[in-house]
């Protein structure tokens, strides 16, 4: 079977939680913040700001 034991079940549950978190994040508009940060040169990241 695909989920052979408890360890695989834990892995599957964690994966599901990850997808749930991801969708909540997109729904809350967090990806827009990431996008806005990433399309402008991040002066702090490159050691100028």
């Amino acid at each position: 079977m695909f989920l052979k034991n408890k360890s695989s079940a834990l892995t599957a549950v964690t994966l599901l939680a990850g997808f749930l978190f991801l969708f909540i994040g997109v729904y809350r508009g967090e990806s827009i913040i990431v996008f806005e940060k990433a399309v402008n040169i991040c002066l702090e990241c490159i050691g100028i700001g």
Binding site: S8, L15, F21, L22, S31, C42, E44, G47
Partner: protein, 289 residues
Amino acid sequence: MVNNKKSNDNFRHIIQVLWTLVTNAYIIGFIRGKIYQGKIKNVCVPGLNCYSCPGAVASCPIGALQAVIGSYEYKFSFYIAGFFIIIGTFMGRFVCGYLCPFGLFQDLLNKIPLRFKVSTFKFDKILRYFKYLVLIVFVVLMPIFITDIIGQGFPWFCKLICPAGTLEGGVPLVLLNDAMRSTVGLLFGWKFFILIAVIILSVIIYRPFCKYVCPLGAIYSLFNPISAFKYSINTDKCINCKMCAQVCKMGCNPVENPNSLECIRCGKCRSICPEEAIEYTFFNERKKI
């Protein structure tokens, strides 16, 4: 066995180079000294890849995490936490071994021949915990709590530490962009010093940044014991020769713990094993790769 080890290493380096090229494919950015501004930047790459690199087509997960939790709207990022959980649960620190451009950079530096290479030293084991401190302090707490007047935090890890940002974003942009060059100051000098230190140390020690500093490696390491992709030891085959522990440049002993937090899944142990006792598993199903 040596040939096997070399071919595994070469295969891994090919994947690393291809991945670095694919995720930094905005070649025109290197010509114009500007960065990609397309829609793919909504998503993150698994490895440490500065989104201010002129070639970067997606976002850095550590930079993205600091951007969200440092914003005045959110103090927790479901989006990035979900991303870490998914990637970590699928492959753990396989990302470090195969999908991180800065890991590749350190791998190549360590190939420079030198009379003395340091495999371990007195405080090696304790220093490994430093990356968790960096994660908690510079990536999480400081962006949340040290804010400006409107509650906006700064990406403190990027600002004060990240040598990947200096290498991939800072150096090319300062060289290519006149406006950037004119604003270079003390902070850039500090970050450049860190980059040079990492470069020198990488020649002597295998992946010092990954071992002791990288907050992304710290996050993925927590998933190594539960990730879908894992190593397992076939105890019927293992003759306890310890060759796997001797060859591991991350200082792991696969027989004692095949899913150590430090294992980057480079596969050196698997290649050197004379009995082929170290096996890949995916959801605990043995895979022949």
